[in-house]
Amino acid sequence: MSITKNLLLEAKGVTKYFGTITALENVNLKIHGGECLGVVGDNGAGKTTLMKVLSGLYKPSAGSLFFEGNEKVLESPRDSQNLGLEMVYQDLALAGNLPIGENIFLGREPTKNLGLIKFLDFKKIKELTDAHLEKLKINVKSADQKVEELSGGQRQAVAIARSTAFNAKVVIMDEPTAALAIKEVGKVLDLINSLKKTGVGVIVISHRMDDIFAVCDRVMALFQGTNFAESELSSTSRDEVIGWIMGKK
């Protein structure tokens, strides 16, 4: 697997107003293939708003998004998905009553035609799921297992698998380890590392310095809706990043 260092996504001067409130002002962000960017910031710093702009949920009041060098206007989350930009939500967005495979392909199920009617192709769902879980080294008993029977870490793994099942180029994860038991955090961080190896650009929003320093290559801090600081991970420290979150340089 080749590690590409091509620029996948770039946000230039993104500004977002909600009425008179300025949620984001002139924010820039870059993410390359095979790279993990950590986005940190206090509550209200604009992390979530920035991610919602990137995923097409909000339209920016000013500024522009470039995807692989071309300017794109995102009208809906569907647009960003079509570009290969996927979100992993904090509440996971999985249906517990459905098996792993059907969750991964929910809304985009492979079908086969029988006469005029399209029927679900369960064999293909299972094959694709097994292959995909194998590729990401996700360990579950069977793709037919219901999601509600899984542990928190396994659910997070399924959510990440779901986000990458359709050749995602950039995956944005909102607090991927927040709801996990400590012993499961490592598994999810391993998964992020193996995603990077497949050339995917990963953006991790997290409060946990341990996570940021375990998987990220770069870290950027937002403070009151603006770019506050940014650094290669190798040339900064935990204390410095914690300082950025509190607005101290």
Binding site: P77, R78, Q81, M87, Y89, D91, L92, A93, L94, A95, G96, N97, L98, E102, N103, L106, G107, R108, E109, T111, I117, K118, F119, L120, N139, V140, K141, K146, E148, E149, L150, S151, G153, Q154, E184, K187
Partner: protein, 337 residues
Amino acid sequence: MEDKDKKKESLHLKLIPYFDKYGILILLLLMIVVMQILQPDVFLSWRNVTNVFKQISWQSMLALGVFMVIVTAGIDLSVGSIMMLSLMVLAIVSKAGAPWFIVVLTPLIVGFLCGLINGLGITLLRMPHPFIMTLGTLYIFRGTGNLVSGGTPISGFTDEVRYLGHGRIDLTWLGLEKSQYLPVSLVLIAIVYFIFWAFMNHTRTGKWIYAIGGNPNAARASGINVNKILVIVYSLCGFLSGIGALILAGRTDSGYPNAGLQSELDAIAACIIGGASFFGGRGTVLGVFAGVMIMGILRNGLNLMDVSSFWQQVLIGSIIVLAVYIDVLRRDLGTRK
């Protein structure tokens, strides 16, 4: 991921899916055995078995419709009224002398439109819960049925109109006696249930119905148009109530104002007994069929034994509570929190 936990859980986790799928059939078989022991001469006779199927024929359509709604974690209280309105319009159209195929299509269209109104009301008017919309239409549709018919029974349909509810498939060519016929309504139940089994389990729309019941936010995040699917589900539920009206028209040869009174509660009961979870996302078409059968056999068996209908009410109520308690226990076992 966790090997130690895996071993501890494996036994009951393996059994739960089978219990989910087939537990209700075991209960059904048990009832049949008990009834046969209590009433050995009558219960499994050709006449009595066909009778049970004729009695459950229209209820089974309502239950199937309500089942799909319950899978989305919704509820439809209006199916009895939809059936009554469809039946009354059918009777009026029939009395007006319309050709039989128009008369037959009438209840299906009326039922579908009533369901469509429910679906649009729930989604467009953003009712806080389907309970409220369908409680409203429970009154609206029955009132409308009485308005258009003047609140009086209208009787007398042609044989073609009555065929689905009253028709008999002769089996003398198999060497059976004239009295050993197959009710057309039984064949209709089999066909309709098979179609909806395939729809719910083998199509995208069916899978999305389960997904909406499991987690509507997940369905939305997956790009599923949840409102559109809900409108489809309520419309199909109305359509099935329309089929119920057509069957009932055949059975009774009459449109009457009390048709389907409280049958929405029977339909809900059959779904719950059959293992559909009120929390949504859980239940099978086969389970609903078993639920309908259990209620039908219970009524039939108690009638054969001359038990008062008051006791029937007590027993059916007890079975509902027991069935839901089993669902609660199942959830405790099967879900990790």
